[in-house]
């Protein structure tokens, strides 16, 4: 049987282990963002236009195709990358080209970016080109926004830019 001194020692050592443990499982707090900032998130998931035109198959080319693969014309699969630009108060916050996904670059283009911005009024401009054959931007958004402290604003693309 342990003596009184040993039991006291055990209590002290248990306390030295569990008390700091209980404390550091929730404290001290971490200041992730300042209270006067807001967050702007941009998440685009969009398939660019297909690059190139469909071309009709000649008779010989058509005959070469397997029975289950026969079709009158050959269409390219590769999609245009998205060229995206975000301007805030006239300054470029983001500018990038987002390739289509997939081995053949025939999938959707996806991107996500998050910006921490000071709360208050801002001028937001979004430009996107989703067609490699077109010059300039094919989609635009130009809007004045008012960001509240700790507000999360989301810009998405649903056949046009949408702010939430």
């Amino acid at each position: 049987m342990p003596g009184v001194a040993q039991i006291f020692g055990q209590i002290v050592l248990y306390a030295l282990f569990f008390v700091p443990l209980a404390y550091i499982t929730h404290s001290p707090t971490h200041q992730y963002l300042p209270d006067d900032m807001a967050v702007l998130k941009i998440a685009i998931r969009h398939a660019g236009k297909i690059i190139g035109e469909c071309t009709p198959l000649t008779g010989a080319e058509y005959d070469k195709l397997a029975a289950n693969m026969k079709r009158p014309e050959l269409c390219p699969r590769e999609r245009s990358p998205l060229k995206l630009t975000l301007l805030l108060d006239g300054e470029a916050l983001y500018r990038d080209t987002i390739p289509a996904s997939g081995l053949h670059r025939d999938g959707v283009s996806s991107m996500y970016q998050r910006f921490v911005l000071p709360a208050g009024p801002h001028h937001l401009q979004l430009f996107m080109n989703d067609d490699a054959s077109a010059e300039g931007n094919t989609w635009e958004l130009d809007q004045n926004i008012e960001l509240l402290p700790t507000q999360v604003m989301v810009a998405q693309f649903r056949e046009g830019f949408v702010l939430q």
Partner: protein, 511 residues
């Protein structure tokens, strides 16, 4: 760094042994405690799962109900769930650091070391998944930074962060996935824990009962005093500003936040890779001695070496030429060259009527025949009175410091290499008046089980036993470790004084 760590752990070992006794010393049972905490987390997790709702609106609310509505059981269960997982994290980390500091990670031990590294990842993943399920602002913080962290990897086609854009983007199915992960990852962790101890004979995966009871009691007190609570419910439409964090499991998130995901991946993967390669990095440690060798002529197939090998390196097979007999076989990949098998071999008796002492199994670097020659040579050279033979181990108290004209010392890889018949022989032949056995701290043998086996051989609980005719008062067994060298010096002097007095001496406790 290793030396400093070792000194620190030695101090802690002593402190905890004083309060808990060596049998309950938590520093010697960090792995077993980790297993114990896992079971506590699992049991309390099952209870919490019964009342937990896997939906966006139900997750936080149901946990609040568990915590406050049934604080006396649900709240305590939740606190146990949190504090036991945190304690497991600390015990596993200390276990790893201690094995590193005490040089127990290379050679044959590489498997346990390497298989332990993924366990840390799995534990962190399990704990983070648990915090995520609470769906409070801490969970929101975790969700956003985890998504940011994983999205950095080129394998992600659709950004994971897209699932946490705002409240409307979140789906209940996500919580079903989280619950699945929070059950699946800990089960993988458990599987990994069993693999981790697979190569170890009689691995200790249960702590001493008193220690287990004490730790449960302490957790109950802390759970009532500081119950685990949720923070404000998550709201993806509002940015997280100030958040309370679990600094044990969530500290990598502050790195993702400040360094960025790429550097955090580099640090954590780099650190894990370095730890994994550690057993093969050059070091100043001595090269291992050759592995144990079986002599079929002297092996009678008793299997005592098999029973005593701490690393499962010995198996039995049909004897090479004695029909109907068995003989031992040593797996060189698992043999750690401790010599415990030689101490267990019944052929290792100096009383055998043979011209030259041979044995059924021994390590070439420290053959039983050499041990006998050395013992006799050193004892014959003693001139003083109250002669003592001290057998010590290379990892415990430094016995060389005890050498004098009346004290002979021999250090070997593990003291369990000394067959009990040697002690009988030394005293019966009156080569010395007393024998002292020393080694690593009790319950903390460098070769895991050496001092446990010795104690059991001396108390006739294990073969080969120390014969009952051997006067126990002429034997001292002291498991004091390297840090107990000073104490051992004093105790040898006291032993000599007692032998000189010739007074009836107390029977030595061997445990």
């Amino acid at each position: 760094m290793k030396t400093l760590l070792k000194k620190g752990f030695n101090q802690l070992d002593n402190l905890f042994s004083l309060a808990f006794t060596p049998q309950w010393n938590p520093m010697y049972q960090l792995g077993a405690l980790s297993f114990f905490y896992f079971w506590v987390v699992a049991a309390t997790g099952v209870y919490l799962f019964i009342f937990f709702e896997t939906s966006i609106s139900g997750a936080h609310t149901s946990l609040e109900q568990i915590t406050h509505g049934q604080w006396y059981i649900g709240g305590v269960m939740r606190s146990f769930h949190r504090y036991a997982s945190a304690a497991m994290g600390i015990c596993m980390t200390l276990h790893m650091l201690r094995e590193f500091a005490l040089d127990r990670y290379s050679g044959v031990r590489w498997f346990s070391w390497v298989s332990g590294i993924p366990l840390l990842w799995l534990l962190f993943a399990s704990a983070i998944g648990g915090y995520w399920l609470v769906w409070d602002i801490q969970a929101q913080y975790i969700a956003q930074l985890t998504a940011q962290w994983f999205d950095w990897l080129p394998i992600m086609v659709d950004p994971m962060a897209g699932n946490f854009l705002n409240e409307s983007a979140l789906s209940d199915r996500f919580f079903s996935l989280l619950v699945f992960l929070h059950i699946g990852i800990p089960l993988t962790l458990l599987l990994g824990m069993f693999i981790h101890i697979k190569r170890i004979t009689g691995a200790r995966n249960n702590p001493a009962r008193g220690l287990a009871a004490g730790t449960l009691g302490a957790m109950l007190v802390v759970s009532l005093w500081q119950p685990a609570l949720s923070q404000a419910p998550a709201n993806l439409d509002v940015a997280v500003t100030e958040v309370g964090l679990d600094w044990i499991f969530l500290n990598p998130y502050t790195l993702i936040d400040s360094w960025g995901p790429g550097q955090t991946w580099a640090l954590l993967v780099g650190l894990s890779t370095a730890l994994t390669l550690l057993p093969w990095l050059p070091s100043r440690r001595e090269k291992p001695t050759p592995v144990a060798v079986v002599d079929p002529d002297n092996c009678n197939g008793c299997g005592w070496c098999l029973a005593d090998c701490p690393y499962d390196a010995v198996t039995m097979k049909e004897h090479d030429y004695k029909k109907g007999h068995q003989q031992s076989v040593v797996n060189p990949d698992l043999c750690i060259s401790c010599g415990i098998c030689a101490g267990a071999c019944p052929s290792s008796s100096p009383f055998r009527h043979v011209d030259e002492l041979t044995t059924g199994i021994s390590i070439p670097g420290f053959h039983i025949k050499d041990l006998l020659t050395l013992t006799e040579k050193k004892l014959h050279a003693l001139k003083g009175s109250n002669r003592i033979m001290v057998y010590g181990c290379d990892h415990g108290s430094v016995v060389d410091k005890l050498t004098s004209d009346s004290v002979a010392t021999i250090s070997m890889p593990c003291t369990a290499l000394v067959p009990p018949a040697f002690i009988d022989y030394v005293l019966r032949k009156e080569l010395a008046e007393g024998v002292m056995i020393s080694g690593c701290c009790e319950g903390d043998c460098y070769y895991r089980l050496g001092n446990t086996w010795m104690d059991q051989r001396f108390s006739n609980e294990r073969m080969p036993p120390l014969r009952t005719r051997v006067p126990r008062e002429k034997i001292r067994v002291r498991w004091l470790g390297e840090q107990g060298t000073g104490q051992l010096v004093r105790e040898v002097a006291e032993f000599q004084t007692e032998l000189a007095a010739g007074a009836p001496l107390p029977i030595e406790e061997v445990s």
